[in-house]
Symmetry: C2
Subunit: 501 residues, 2 copies
């Protein structure tokens, strides 16, 4: 099957790519996806790296129930408003044979006393536990992370980007002071940003969400939103300062140093399988995925060109000293929160004799495998090997004894250069606009830094007319005053507008 | 809080231990547990080791939906019978404000067209995908594993042992021949057995389940069931040969080598957080948990005896060369499926100045930390260090420069000796009985190898009168004919009876 060209229909192309590269597919359950082995292997890499970063920043993992009593959701008023429309509700606990013989039905006598919500997020059930865990300032900070599945009843779904069930991590912390909670929320947003930059090779603006875009129940929401190739922003992960809202709703108090009872200050945050959608849309090219080596399930694929078993045996023997070296090698990634991160180098040999080398080249290019070797009899005779580099399409003819060193070096180089490409793309397509007319033109082809008066009305008018929303109040731009491009009212700072996923 | 003595009430003691050692607790949702950080760290160790073994045996991870359409469950007749009474059923997808102002209610207009079952296990939804993934014998074998949460509506629950939600892995394979499927089911039972032996330090009998104890839909069920300290068997994990039952129900066919359409042969298997309950009951002693080093979240705890900050600084300086060596050290475990497995050595220093050393000793003994150092000024002056070994209670006074080597050696030794102790305990309490009278006496204090005629009636009579069930047809005992101890009818072999969890 041919991939829809990027320029023709970016959305159709995305779906083609997810399915043809064997990342995920739709399931028999509306809105829920099956994450296939190749896609899941990317998720495992994301999970393992972030898990290390969380543990380094003092977090421990735990696990809380999938089900949330319905009454819990209503305890935090804005929270229930945010999630009530997305809840899967369990009402019964037993099936039975239809007395009329028509298959199985829900046993009407098995109705639950209180309905259970399948967790859309776990603030409520976790805070309910924290009430019993926290007594004194000595129990704080409490830094807990959970890797879990969550469900939301979505109407329009897209693989990875918006699904009725997804995998994620959710961090939930409790602190003794408001300041400490806000520092934590910002720090963990930094961890996400660092991860996106150094592992996902995605540049993103780190910023605060405007008031009306915050998480249901938060007082500050920090986010990182990389630019996709269609110039839309992807809300890739958020970190919330919850203040005392949930502590008050769930009565989580502690005895502070002055021996007074006080509500704890909380944060929460999460990233999900949505990130995989981001990877695809940030780096993919006309041939398919381009995976940054740090997250690639396979780093090097070897395609032998052979006619007989002996040919293969000869090729393997020829490669084996270098493959042994590769097995002991690692490539490294530098990052702020993990210092020097090391990865094994995963090599695959595709010996399938039913598929042509050409078919295989296409397949592994589609799947974004960083490096490929095609190797035949002549290479063996000449002591050479040809390396193909997925991100640039370059071919390198090297001598066999250079192989393991070159692979290691290239993987490190590709990781940086895929990021540099995305950072340049983001910069090229980030504009400043002062008039609404200019804004409307530019927001069709990138992110736009513009002044706004901060009212919900202006934001809604702009969204209606352009489909763009305020993505954030960016941290990394100087704050300069100005006037709203529509109303002429005072604006405290430029914010970033963009269309978004 | 004091632990209930083991001899007084084994069941109450178990609950005390789980909660006081901070492994898990009951949640606000009936039957669902919160797995606390210390308990979850044990689960992470179990998961990471098994995941490696699965990958080494050719499995890949994937993820399938949490929800299963109701109609799927009824496709495999014995499967629905096995699970219908345990299902959590989702019927609605939205909440709303009660028009009468009484909090939030389920929006009656949000009823689902088809109810969704929260997965009790995933055979049905996975086989539904396999229908599209498998076309030819070239697509086989398909070896997939999933790490997930599952839910069952349990009436009487106990932390880890029986909960309405638990974490597990479920393997689901498809094969071209009946023989290959059965070999796979047995091989993965061997992986479990190997894991139980070498990592959980639990001896178990490897065996086949009798017909009426099989998994709903299986043609053979292989299981490993270690003996707990109250002489009950724990069904710790099962591996099923499903034959073509699910393939027929979900129409999973492939073109075989003769170019004929045939249903695939399938297996499934799983282990869960229940294993943590097994760890507690197999090894715990009067002081609390005894964790085999391979699964312990902390290997060595250092309790400094100090009066001032300088004391602590002195102790740390004294220990630091050896702690640096430990940081670079690993201890190893030999196993059939993972060859030489290596573990980092996790060290904790407890500097809390609010708790006495004695309190800390009790706490870490309760938590089953394998090794402890208590160290004060005098040890520093003498160049000594005292090591306490949790499983035997021995104390060793060694010179400081022996520390890292001794710790590494002891961890390896403890892993083997905890297993040896459990194997001896199992052997000592496994009996042979030929008369029913003798059987009834012995089954109160161990496993009993006895003859039975293989009918369901006899099995039920025995269960009613003694609470013991046939746990298995053991692989590792010679098959000898005999007569049923009650009916006198012919028996093909001795089987193992025991009470069980």
């Amino acid at each position: 099957m041919a991939l829809t060209p990027r320029a023709e229909d970016y959305s159709a192309r995305y779906n083609d790519l997810v399915q043809q590269a064997d990342l995920a597919e739709n399931s028999a359950v509306k809105g829920c996806m099956v994450i296939k082995p190749y896609g899941y292997a990317i998720w495992e890499n994301i999970r393992d790296i972030l898990d290390k970063a969380f543990k380094k920043t003092g977090h421990q993992n735990a696990y809380f129930p999938l089900f949330i009593p319905k009454s819990f959701l209503s305890k935090e008023a804005s929270h229930v408003e945010g999630f009530a429309k997305e809840c899967r509700v369990v009402t019964h606990y037993r099936l039975m044979n239809d007395p009329e013989g028509k298959g199985i039905i829900v046993d009407p006598t098995s109705k639950l006393e209180e309905e259970l919500i399948v967790r859309p997020t776990s603030e409520t059930i976790i805070r309910d536990s924290y009430r019993n865990w926290i007594h004194s300032y000595r129990d704080l900070p409490l830094l807990i992370n959970q890797w879990a599945n969550v469900t939301r009843a979505e109407m329009r779904t897209r693989l990875f980007l918006r699904t009725s069930e997804f995998l994620w991590q959710e961090g939930h912390t409790a602190h003794a002071t408001a300041e400490e909670a806000d520092i934590e929320a910002r720090k963990m947003a930094d961890v996400y940003y660092d991860f996106a930059k150094n592992f996902m090779a995605m540049h993103s603006y780190l910023w605060e969400k405007p008031t009306h875009e915050r998480f249901a129940g938060a007082i500050h929401t920090y986010t990182f939103e990389p630019m996709m190739q269609d110039f839309k922003a992807l809300q890739a992960g958020t970190s919330h300062d919850l203040g005392q809202n949930f502590a008050k709703a769930f009565d989580v108090q502690f005895t502070n140093k002055n021996n007074e009872q006080e509500y704890v200050y909380a944060t929460s945050r999460g990233i999900s399988t949505r990130l995989i959608g981001g990877l695809i849309m940030a780096h993919g090219d006309d041939k398919g995925l381009v995976l940054p080596p740090a997250l690639a399930p396979i780093h090097l694929v070897i395609v032998p060109i052979f006619k007989s078993e002996e040919d293969i045996a000869g090729i393997k023997k020829y490669l084996s000293p270098e493959l042994e070296k590769l097995e002991k090698s690692v490539f490294t990634v530098q990052s702020e929160f993990l210092d020097t991160w090391k990865s094994d180098i995963k090599v695959t040999i595709d010996e399938d004799d039913q598929k042509s080398p050409g078919w295989k080249y296409n397949e592994y290019e589609l799947k974004g495998v960083p490096l490929r070797i095609a190797i035949g009899k002549r290479d063996v005779e000449n002591g050479k090997v040809e390396l193909y580099r997925r991100d640039t399409g370059e071919k390198l003819l090297i001598t066999i004894d250079e192989l393991s060193n070159t692979v290691t070096k290239l993987l490190e180089e590709m990781q940086l250069s895929i990021y540099a490409k995305h950072a340049a793309f983001t910069k090229e397509n980030t504009y400043t606009a002062d008039s609404y007319e200019d804004f409307r033109e530019k927001v069709e082809k990138g992110f736009v830094l513009a002044h706004r008066d901060g009212t919900r009305e202006t934001a809604e008018q702009i969204q209606e007319e352009t489909k763009a929303t305020i993505r954030c109040l960016p941290f990394d731009y100087p704050i300069e005053e100005g006037v709203d491009m529509i109303t002429g009212n005072k604006s405290e700072r430029r914010v970033i507008f963009a269309k978004s996923y």
